[in-house]
Symmetry: C2
Subunit: 278 residues, 2 copies
DNA sequence: TATACTAATGACTAATTGGTCAGTTGTCAA
DNA sequence: TTGACAACTGACCAATTAGTCATTAGTATA
């Protein structure tokens, strides 16, 4: 499946340069050095490609961020770690970041629009959870404004390396944003965003049992030569259809599949599914 | 020329919905209820339309902001007024704002890209001049970071009404941003953006004498029934070709043409031209 | 060497694109 | 009523688009 990755990389380059609509499948295949037919061997349509790209990068960054948040013990480091990962990822995957920034505003179809909204909501939810912990002393009614503050700094400073190719010290940048946000958290008094916006953020994708099973099916097709992950997936799928295993066993199985890059997102959704059952 | 305006309005709607590349001239003419030929009566090409749109709105907002800055006496109100105008304009012209946000990242050709860069530089220059005056007590090495801070708040909170259709009190929003920026200005210590970025901001369009003359020519074709403006323009043009008038007279003539919407941008550039001559 | 299979090709289609232009319509003054 | 002129139309064009499919190339097994 190395050619699929090639298509994703090269198309991302072109999308970042000219945008999705302005890039033709012809251009993509030319840059990849493959035929047009080959493209449709790996993607059913141009739309499937855009969905794959967004899902691939967003699920990867969101799982990474969630892991970091739950792994960080010290409250003071929460925001720093978040910024370091997010901005670092933007810097490394600048093509995706550019592409994402346009898609965020402009979505070519309803399906894509809702997808983007969901990912942004998840992103904001992570920021909110960080604010809750790191700025616990701040009055809770200011939390949402702090989320917007953090978001603003990320957006604004991102442009430095995305558009202007400005070289900067990532660590210093993160420290400076933490300093500024802390100042705002400790002293700001005027609330703009009200609590009802929380409902907007909390719209996490509620995967149904069947959707989860189908997701596991598609992953199973892609995975080779990793019997641990394969068997774990099989057990997890079986338990969805006919619950038999205890919670402890399920948690362990999820840890198993999390080691595989392709399964991280699935593990994340499975966890959310278990939480919703409670 | 009311049909030209109709095309601009309707196309902006479509661009905001689907993006520039995804919108066909066919769609535009259909929404306007005119024929395809009529479109090309008013715009030489689709590219000319996009340029017209961006120029029209950006020149209008930038001249408005410059006027507000130079008219504001009280230092404490500078940032507030800037935010109130910018965000108010974004709210009112939400179609343009959306369209602009995507074009900013993604420019379909080099010409457009440089155009956008120039406008953004001018925008940042205005913010910088506000920071210099309103936050004079802040160490100057922090000025650029304050510019990025302000930009971040504008970007972040803009999304509330651009994407999420969230209703809010504009005046309250501006006050809250001023509060936050003031906190940062008074206490932040970590500098990220260094002085060399200033060169980037200061790239104002240096219009040559000939470009200015041509600009006046195109404006003269559009203007009817306003002899004061027409004669002022004629004198200003003549003085470019053969300087005879005193500075005081020129300043007065510029005031004359500023009253006309179509001339504001030209007056702005003429002033810059005179400044550069010194 | 023969067979069976997948990976890959590129000419092809139907639809759509930006842009043109010969011709029609509407509106004036003479 | 006529003629002149600008505003406007929509069939038309060449180029390009996303997507298809009969065909071929390559490779592994028997």
């Amino acid at each position: 499946m190395v050619k699929k990755q090639l298509i994703m990389e090269k198309s991302l380059e072109l999308f970042a340069e000219n945008g999705f609509e302005a890039t033709s499948v012809q251009q993509i295949t030319e840059r990849c050095g493959i035929s047009k037919g080959a493209f449709y061997l790996y993607f059913k349509s141009k739309d499937e490609l855009i969905n794959s790209l967004i899902d691939h990068f967003m699920t990867s960054i969101i799982t990474e961020l969630e892991q970091s948040v739950s792994a960080t013990q010290s409250r003071e480091e929460l925001l720093y770690n978040f910024l370091y990962i997010s901005l670092g990822e933007f810097q490394q995957q600048s093509n995706f970041a550019k592409f994402f920034m346009t898609e965020q505003v402009l979505s070519y179809n309803k399906d894509l629009f809702e997808r983007m909204q969901t990912y942004m909501a998840m992103f904001n939810r992570i920021i909110y959870s960080i604010v809750e912990r790191q700025f616990a002393q701040t009055p809770p009614n200011m939390y949402l404004d702090l989320v917007f503050t953090i978001n603003g700094f990320v957006k604004s400073y991102s442009e430095l390396f995305l558009l202007d190719n400005y070289k900067l010290d990532l660590s210093l940048l993160c420290k400076s944003i933490v300093e500024k946000v802390t100042l705002v958290a400790q002293n700001a008094t005027i609330q703009v965003v009200t609590a009802d916006y929380l409902a907007y953020i909390n719209q996490i994708p509620k995967y149904t049992k069947d959707q989860l099973i189908e997701l596991i099916n598609t992953i199973q097709e892609e995975i080779r030569d990793d019997s641990l992950v394969e068997e774990s997936l099989q057990l997890l799928k079986a338990d969805l259809q006919e619950p038999t295993l205890s919670r402890v066993v399920l948690v362990g199985l999820l840890k198993n599949i999390k080691e595989n890059e392709n399964c991280k997102w699935c593990a994340y959704l499975y966890e959310k599914f278990l939480q919703n059952e409670d």
